[in-house]
């Protein structure tokens, strides 16, 4: 399974990087979104996969009974997801403003005398 997720993560990175290298503002941001998904998957997988119980102690039990999924990468990824949302939203609006002000969605044309 790690191999499959490594493949998925690699494809997300490749696609994200390719889009980040484009000239269209919209593609830049889609690329950013793919990269951030790829990174979340990367951290989650790197922390170790367990097809077992989530790290939630059963009612009445004193402690987690192994095997259970590692809560640490989960906590990291959870905040990363939410922060990624903020980042995406901000970049979107920024791109939108650039587009509206410069009248083009081609970054090479932004700021060019027209």
């Amino acid at each position: 399974m790690e191999g499959l997720l490594a493949l998925a993560s690699g494809v997300l990175y490749a696609a994200g990087t390719y889009l980040m290298l484009r000239r269209r503002l919209a593609q830049l941001i889609v690329g950013l979104g793919l990269l951030s998904n790829g990174t979340n998957l990367l951290i989650f997988t790197a922390g170790g996969l367990t097809r077992a119980r989530p790290p939630v102690v059963a009612a009445g039990a004193a402690a987690l009974e192994p095997p259970y999924a590692d809560p640490v990468p989960q906590a990291l990824v959870l905040t990363a997801i939410v922060i990624g949302f903020g980042l995406t939203a901000f970049s979107l609006v920024l791109a939108h403003r650039v587009h509206a002000t410069a009248g083009t969605d081609d970054v090479d044309d932004v700021g060019r005398e027209r």
Binding site: V11, N37, A52, A63, V82, F90, H96, R97, T101
Partner: protein, 893 residues
């Protein structure tokens, strides 16, 4: 010792408060001079003493000061002359709007200079050394509105700063070789240094530092240019103190290196060359300060040369010359400043007959000029006489040096007369009314000049301090006994010869000035050439490196990382060594293919909407993965975020056109290859990491203490709101900032007006009814998620997202206005309240003396505690952030 730094800070304030009382500041250096003088007498009887304060002990850096004769001699000159300079400046710069800045720099310089001459630690010495360079940069460029002053300041900074770096290099090598940073301890380790492998380099670096600071040939050009400084600065820095730091360094290193041929040759030759060049150029100038600057060069050359010769007599002569020069040159500079201040010019061809108008200044100038010319009964005579005597009693090339020195002395004597006597002689040819300046402008030069006369009459009063300074310089006990009259010796005859030549030259000084050969090119042109060459070089390189669009940098960085990372992975060779150990189920394969398919579709999408939907597919796929591998919290959060993200994408992307390719095909192929490379490396990296067994200590720690210390059974939530609450606080702050940024960007576009709704609500009655019914249910579910989050999957993050989704749904059905009304408060209020609650939840712990955000729980079975409040804060912030973004976007015209 470091008190001038304190005074520097105070001075700026005091002078702006009492602009006409700046002279009082002079009291402090005067007091210091007295204290140091007292210390000097102790040093005469006891030898030097060390004072040490630790500074950064781990770096071997300590503020250790060595109060020996050499350092104290310099320190007394620095504070004594400093007091006079401050007094002088109080009148010279009276009413100057930026006088505070001047005094602050001046006192900081004074402190740095004291640090230089008293430091025993070679690294501390370096720090103070560079500090003198920096403060002198500020002082030379004091009148920074003038381009010439700026250029001179920068030139001085570059030249002496480069020397400072050389000093640092020498210091590091010295510490490496000798094993100590203490200068006095290095003398004891002399043998290992001199025979050590780096000795040549050390000598070169030390001399580079000393020669640049003391403006020795070929680095002499900066000193005359530095005359752009206000005259008190020139008098202080460029005659009496800073330029002598180089001489000080040479003297300080003499016990260590003085006996080796590399040292003596280099020092003597550079000194002699500077002596001749400076004296020669000084008589060609017409500007009083430039005359004095070149003659200062020459005098520095004399001292350097004598220290290079290094016999006992030569060392004594160098020190006597140093003291004498500080006195007369300081006086002459101050006289020049007084003339400039009163007559409005420093050009000697425009000055004459000022003796009637300025009799006291004339007296000071004349006395100083006599000392400079070396007329008997002045201290200048004692200095020059001693130098002749030292050079006479030697072998080898000493006679040549003596001849050069006589020549230089003649020219110097002439320069002294030009600067100190000529402006006062002759008929009054000026129409402008000139009169004696205020007392603060003539007392300091007169005191300095009179000191020269007094010491010349009774030179023996300086025997004690000079003995102890010479002892420190020579490294062996030296007894100085100066006397007025040595008898009718060859030295005396040479002195008389010099004086006669000076007298003759002064009669023909006009032709000396105008008819002598002036070099057209100097080392300054080399400096300028090197500098403009560097500028041209960076001008040629920089565009090649910095002209590309941002994505080219991204591409280069990604490509390099892929190559390096790939090489490391290949070298590691661990790929596939440990086989993946989690089994694969068919539906996992399906999910992974959905993710991959979504990514590929997003990459090649031709319309913005298909790109967004593909991206959403990827997000949901990742959420499914989270769900499959024991992370329901992540899955819930990801599902909510993905839904809201798609909403925001749609709101923005409706403004964009299609996504047809812009770059040529070849560029796309290249980018594709780079992207594939990065994907390969990331995949390989992940495979290598995920299949490596790690010790899950953190996992076990949190699993064990989550329920007990954290009072929660959902360990992920406990980590977020308790163990790592401070991180979470930072994260919600970032979120809030992003939301405010979005709001600001959109408001900026509409000039703050709230735009009309540009998205029409969905007019379907079925949808509206569903939305009306669903919204309260979703809200209840959001609160439920929040409340159970500590023990079951859920929590503030996902709760906030779901709550925001409820209002978003309502807005889609009924429009933003109605949604805002349903929300009752503004999103901004939610955001602020959430942040405040999260912050306040950390305060009780502080009140009880525990770290901020430490969890506190109420006793009893109810889960009431600060982490619960914190999670409520997170909930409100997330909801506020999302709603603020969506509402602003939907209302944007």
């Amino acid at each position: 010792m470091l008190s001038p730094f304190v005074v520097a800070i105070l001075a700026a304030w005091l002078v702006s408060r009492f602009p006409h009382r700046a002279g009082i500041l002079a009291a402090w250096p005067a007091l210091l001079a007295v204290l140091l003088g007292n210390e000097m007498w102790r040093a005469v009887s006891l030898g030097g003493r060390l004072v040490e304060l630790p500074w950064a002990p781990s770096l071997g850096l300590s503020l250790s000061f060595n109060l020996d004769g050499l350092g104290l001699l310099f320190a007394i000159l620095i504070t004594g002359i400093g007091a006079l300079i401050v007094l002088y400046a109080s009148r010279y710069l009276e009413g100057h709007p930026q006088a505070g800045r001047f005094y602050a720099s001046l006192f900081a310089f004074m402190g740095a200079m004291l640090g230089v001459v008293l430091s025993d630690n070679v690294l501390t010495l370096f720090v103070f050394w560079e500090l003198t360079g920096f403060t002198s940069f500020l002082l030379i460029g004091f009148e920074h509105e003038r381009a010439a002053a700026r250029a001179a300041a920068i030139q001085a900074l570059i030249v002496t700063g480069a020397g400072g770096l050389a000093l640092l290099g020498a210091g590091v090598l010295l510490i490496d070789v000798s094993g100590t940073a203490s200068l006095s301890a290095m003398v004891a380790a002399k043998g290992s240094i001199v025979t050590g492998p780096f000795y040549g380099a050390i000598v070169g670096l030390i001399l580079l530092a000393a020669f640049t600071k003391s403006a020795q040939v070929p680095f002499h050009f900066w000193l005359p240019n530095a005359m752009e400084a206000p005259t008190p600065v020139s008098a202080y820095l460029h005659s009496a103190t800073m330029v002598k730091a180089g001489v000080y360094l040479i003297a300080r290193m003499t016990p260590l290196m003085g006996s080796t041929p590399e040292w003596t040759t280099a020092v003597t030759v550079a000194g002699a060359a500077t002596m001749v060049v400076g004296a020669y150029r000084s008589v060609q100038e017409t500007d009083l300060k430039r005359i004095l600057a070149y003659s200062t060069l020459s005098a520095l050359g004399v001292m350097t040369m004598l220290l290079g010769v290094g016999t006992r007599e030569a060392i004594i002569a160098a020190l006597v010359y140093l003291v004498a020069h500080a006195g007369y040159k300081g006086a002459l500079f101050l006289v020049a400043g007084a003339i400039d201040h009163e007559a409005g010019t420093r050009d000697i061809s425009a000055l004459a007959g000022l003796r009637r108008a300025m009799p006291i200044t004339a007296l000071a100038g004349g006395a100083a000029a006599l000392s400079m010319a070396g007329v008997p009964l002045t201290f200048g005579f004692v200095g020059k006489d001693g130098a002749y005597e030292a050079l006479l009693h030697g072998t080898d090339w000493f006679p040549w040096l003596l001849a050069l020195m006589v020549l230089a002395s003649i020219l110097l004597g002439l320069a002294g007369l030009i600067a100190g006597v000529l402006p006062f002689r002759g008929d009054v040819a000026r129409a402008k009314e000139v009169h004696e300046p205020a007392w603060a402008l003539w007392i300091p030069p007169l005191v300095l000049a009179m000191c020269g006369l007094l010491a010349g009459l009774v030179p023996s009063i300086l025997n004690g301090p000079l003995s102890s300074a010479a002892t420190a310089t020579a490294g062996v006990s030296v007894d100085v006994s100066l006397s007025l009259w040595h008898g009718l010796t060859l030295t005396f005859l040479l002195s008389l010869l010099t004086l006669a030549a000076v007298a003759f030259a002064s009669m023909v000084h006009e032709s000396v000035r105008t008819r002598t050969w002036k070099p057209r090119y100097g080392t300054e042109d080399l400096y300028e050439g090197a500098l403009s060459g560097l500028n041209a070089l960076s001008g040629a390189i920089a565009p090649a490196l910095h002209s590309a669009p941002l994505r080219t940098y991204v591409m280069v960085i990604v490509a390099m990382s892929a190559v390096l990372g790939g090489a490391a992975l290949v070298a590691e060779g661990s790929l596939g060594s440990a086989l993946p150990h989690t089994n694969i189920t068919p539906h996992d394969v399906l999910i992974v293919f959905v993710i991959i398919g979504g990514a590929i579709a997003a990459t090649f999408a031709r319309s913005t909407m298909s790109a967004v939907l593909s991206l959403g597919t990827v997000g949901y796929g990742v959420a499914m993965i989270f769900l499959s591998f024991g992370a329901p919290d992540l899955a819930m959060t990801q599902f909510s975020v993905e839904t809201l993200t798609v909403l925001i994408y749609v709101l923005v992307f409706r403004h964009f056109r299609g996504l047809g390719p812009l770059s040529p095909g070849l560029v796309r192929v290249r980018d594709g290859l780079v992207a594939l490379g990065s994907g390969l490396v990331i995949g390989g990296l992940l495979l290598s990491v995920a299949t490596t067994e790690t010790a899950p200590r953190l996992k076990e720690y949190f699993a064990e203490f989550g329920p007990t210390l954290g009072h929660g059974r959902n360990i992920v939530n406990v980590i977020l709101v308790d163990f790592r609450a401070f991180d979470t606080l930072g994260e919600i702050t970032v979120l809030a900032t992003a939301a405010l940024g979005v709001r600001g960007l959109l408001r900026f576009a509409t000039d703050g007006r709230r735009g009309h709704e540009s998205v029409r609500p969905v007019a379907s009655p079925i949808f509206r009814t569903a939305a009306r019914l669903l919204m309260p249910l979703i809200l209840v579910f959001a609160v439920f998620l929040l409340l159970r989050g500590h023990n079951q999957p859920g929590g503030g993050f996902v709760g906030g997202l779901v709550a925001a989704a409820a209002f978003a749904l309502y807005a889609i059905a009924f429009g933003v206005q109605r949604a805002r009304q349903a929300l009752l408060v503004r999103p901004l209020t939610l955001l602020g309240a959430g942040l405040s609650i999260a912050l306040l939840s950390g305060v009780p712990a502080v009140l009880r003396g525990q770290p901020f955000l430490t969890a506190l729980w109420a006793p009893g079975s109810l889960p009431l505690g600060t982490p619960a409040a914190f999670d409520v804060g997170v909930f409100l912030v997330v909801a506020g952030v999302v709603l603020m973004m969506i509402f602003s976007l939907a209302e944007e015209s």
